[in-house]
C-alpha cells in the first residue's frame, strides 16, 4: 500500500491542537466569568486555580509531543516511513486531545455546580496537609473557609463548608498534635458559627442543628479530657462555644426555628457558667411568646446556677420577666421559686439588680424592682 502523506497534514494537526489547547486554557476563565459567583471567582484567583489547572498537564504533554513529531517529520522530510509513523502517532495524540477536551469541557460546564465543593475540598486538603506537616492550622485557609461559609447559600452549599470543617476538626483530634485548650480550635468554632448565623443569607435549620451537634461533641471531648490540673472545660474553647451557641440560638429564634431550642439548651447545659446565656435565650423566647422555651431556660438556669459565681442573678432576672408576662407565667415563676426553695431576700434581689444594671439590662432591673414590690405586698 502506498503511503501518500505530506508534512502539511502534520502541520495542520499542530495548528488545530494549539487552537484547542488555547481554548482549554481559556475555558476556566470563561466558566469563571459566566457561571461562578463572586466568592468562588475570588477564591479561584486567590490560591486554588493551580490545583484545578493541574488537570491540564496531560494536555500540555500531548501538545508538546505532537509539536515534536511535526518538528522531526519536517527535519527528516525524506523518510516516508518516519513521516507516516509520525502522522499516525500525531493523529492518535490529537484524538486523545479531543477526547480530553470534551471531558474537560463537560467537567467545567456540566459540573460547574460542583465547583464550590471542589474548591472547598482543595482548601480542606491543603489545610490538613499543612497541619499534619507543621502542626498548625493555617489562618489563611481558615479565612478562606470562613469567607466561603459566609457567602454560601443555605442548605447544600453551606453544608459543604461545615463538612470540610468537621473533617479538619477530626484530623486535629486524631493527630493529637494540638492540645485541646490551647486555642487552636477556636477559629473553627467561629467559622462554623459564621456559616450558619452570620451568613449573607439566612442559615438553614438543618445546618444549624449540625453545627450545634458538632459543638456538643467538642464539649463532651473537652469535658472528658478535663483533669484537676488541666481544667479544659473552663477554658477558652468552651467560652467560644458558649458565645457561638448563643449567637446561633438568637439567629434561630429570629427566624422562628423554635424547634432548635431544645438542642441549644442541651448544648448550654454542658457548659459551666452558662446561666447568662440561658437568661438571654429565655428572655428572647419570652419576647416572642415562646413560653415553653422560656420555662425550660428558667429550669435549666436553676439546675446549673448553683454552680456559678453568678449565683441567682440570672435566675431571678428571668423569673422577674416571667412574673410580669401574664397570670399563668406568674404562676409558673412562683411555682419554680417554691419548688426550688427560693424566697429571694431583699439583699439577693438587690444583688441581682446591680448585676443586671452593670450589664445594661435595664428592663430586667425594672422588673426585679417591681417584683420586689409585688412580693412585699404578698
Amino acid at each position: 500500500m502506498e503511503i501518500n502523506i505530506s508534512n502539511d497534514y502534520l502541520n495542520l494537526i499542530v495548528e488545530v491542537a494549539v487552537t484547542v489547547y488555547a481554548f482549554l486554557l481559556g475555558l476556566p476563565a470563561l466558566v469563571s466569568q459566566i457561571l461562578l459567583p463572586e466568592d468562588l471567582r475570588r477564591m479561584s484567583r486567590k490560591n486554588y486555580t493551580p490545583s484545578i489547572m493541574r488537570s491540564l498537564i496531560p494536555m500540555t504533554i500531548l501538545l508538546l509531543a505532537i509539536i515534536l513529531l511535526a518538528f522531526l517529520a519536517n527535519i527528516f522530510s525524506e523518510g516516508q516511513v518516519l513521516l507516516a509513523l509520525s502522522a499516525i502517532t500525531a493523529t492518535l495524540f490529537f484524538a486523545a486531545m479531543l477526547v480530553f477536551t470534551l471531558w474537560h469541557t463537560w467537567k467545567h460546564l456540566a459540573l460547574s455546580q460542583g465547583y464550590r465543593a471542589r474548591i472547598i475540598n482543595v482548601i480542606q486538603e491543603k489545610a490538613i496537609e499543612k497541619f499534619q506537616s507543621q502542626g498548625i492550622l493555617d489562618r489563611a485557609f481558615l479565612e478562606d473557609l470562613d469567607y466561603l461559609g459566609i457567602s454560601s447559600k443555605p442548605g447544600a452549599e453551606t453544608r459543604t463548608v461545615i463538612e470540610a470543617l468537621e473533617n479538619l476538626l477530626n484530623a486535629v483530634n486524631e493527630s493529637n498534635r494540638v492540645d485541646a485548650g490551647n486555642g487552636q480550635l477556636m477559629p473553627l468554632v467561629d467559622i462554623l458559627c459564621n456559616a450558619v448565623a452570620n451568613s449573607v443569607e439566612p442559615g438553614s435549620f438543618r445546618n444549624m442543628v449540625d453545627v450545634l451537634t458538632i459543638f456538643k461533641s467538642m464539649l463532651m471531648s473537652l469535658d472528658s479530657h478535663t483533669t484537676q490540673e488541666n481544667q479544659l472545660i473552663y477554658g477558652n474553647e468552651t467560652r467560644k462555644i458558649k458565645d457561638a451557641t448563643t449567637r446561633i440560638a438568637l439567629a434561630a429564634l429570629k427566624r422562628d426555628y423554635v424547634d432548635m431550642m431544645p438542642l441549644v439548651l442541651n448544648v448550654l447545659t454542658l457548659i459551666p457558667r452558662s446561666s447568662d446565656k440561658l437568661f438571654d435565650i429565655g428572655l428572647l423566647a419570652l419576647a416572642r411568646g415562646q413560653f415553653q422555651i422560656a420555662t425550660s431556660a428558667l429550669a435549666e438556669i436553676m439546675d446549673r446556677d448553683n454552680k456559678d459565681y453568678l449565683k441567682m442573678n440570672n435566675y431571678l432576672g428571668l423569673a422577674a420577666h416571667l412574673f410580669f408576662a401574664g397570670a399563668a407565667a406568674r404562676k409558673y415563676a412562683l411555682h419554680s421559686m417554691k419548688s426550688n426553695h427560693i424566697a429571694p431576700t431583699t439583699e439577693e434581689l438587690k444583688d441581682a439588680m446591680e448585676y443586671h444594671y452593670i450589664l445594661s439590662n435595664f428592663a430586667t432591673v425594672d422588673r426585679l424592682e417591681e417584683m420586689k414590690r409585688e412580693m412585699k405586698k404578698g
Binding site: 463532651m220 447545659t269 429550669a299 436553676m302
Partner: protein, 167 residues
C-alpha cells in the same frame, strides 16, 4: 436545687418529643439531661450521676467511633435491629449473663432505676430484656396517642420506686 437527676436517652428528645419535657420542667422536681444518641449517653453516664435513667431502644450511634463500629457490626448482621443501640447500651451497663458489663459508669444504679421508653412492643423486647436479666425493668410504650405528661408520669413511676432509698 431540683431533686432527682434524670437522664433521658432519646433521639427525638430535642425535636419531635420535646413537648414531653415541658411538664418535667414545669413540675420542678427533676433535673433533666438529654442524650440523643449512644455516644452522648455514654458521655453523660460517665460524667454525671443520675437517680433515674430512661432509655429509648432505637437510638443512633452518634460520633463516637466505638458506637459507630458497633452500629456497623449490627447492621452487617441484622439490618432490622441495627438501630437498637439502646439495648446495646443496657448490655454494656449490665452485661448479659455471658458477658461482663463493659461500660464503666459513674453510677451504680440498680435496674429498678432504669426505665425503657420506646416504640417497640413489650412482647417484642421481652426476649432481649430477659437475656439481659432485665425482664422486670419498667417499660412504657411511646405512641402517637400518648399524653404530654407521658414522660413525667414515667419518671414519677421509676423514681417512685426509689423514693426513700439513699442514692
Amino acid at each position: 436545687m431540683n431533686g432527682y437527676k434524670v437522664l433521658w436517652i432519646e433521639d427525638d428528645a430535642d425535636n419531635d418529643l420535646y413537648n414531653l419535657t415541658s411538664p418535667v420542667y414545669i413540675d420542678g422536681r427533676y433535673q433533666l439531661d438529654i442524650a440523643t444518641n449512644a455516644s452522648e449517653a455514654h458521655f453523660y453516664l460517665n460524667a454525671r450521676v443520675y437517680d433515674v435513667i430512661i432509655v429509648d431502644i432505637r437510638i443512633p450511634p452518634g460520633k463516637d467511633p466505638g458506637w459507630r463500629a458497633k452500629h456497623e457490626q449490627l447492621r452487617s448482621r441484622n439490618e432490622a435491629n441495627s438501630s437498637r443501640l439502646g439495648l446495646e447500651l443496657l448490655r454494656a451497663i449490665f452485661g448479659d449473663g455471658e458477658q461482663q458489663p463493659t461500660l464503666k459508669i459513674q453510677q451504680n444504679l440498680r435496674p429498678e432505676r432504669y426505665g425503657v421508653f420506646t416504640i417497640e412492643g413489650h412482647e417484642e423486647l421481652k426476649p432481649d430484656l430477659h437475656q439481659l436479666q432485665l425482664a422486670r425493668i419498667k417499660y412504657r410504650q411511646k405512641n402517637a396517642m400518648m399524653p404530654h405528661t407521658a414522660l413525667l408520669d414515667f419518671i414519677n413511676e421509676v423514681s417512685g420506686s426509689v423514693n426513700g432509698q439513699s442514692n
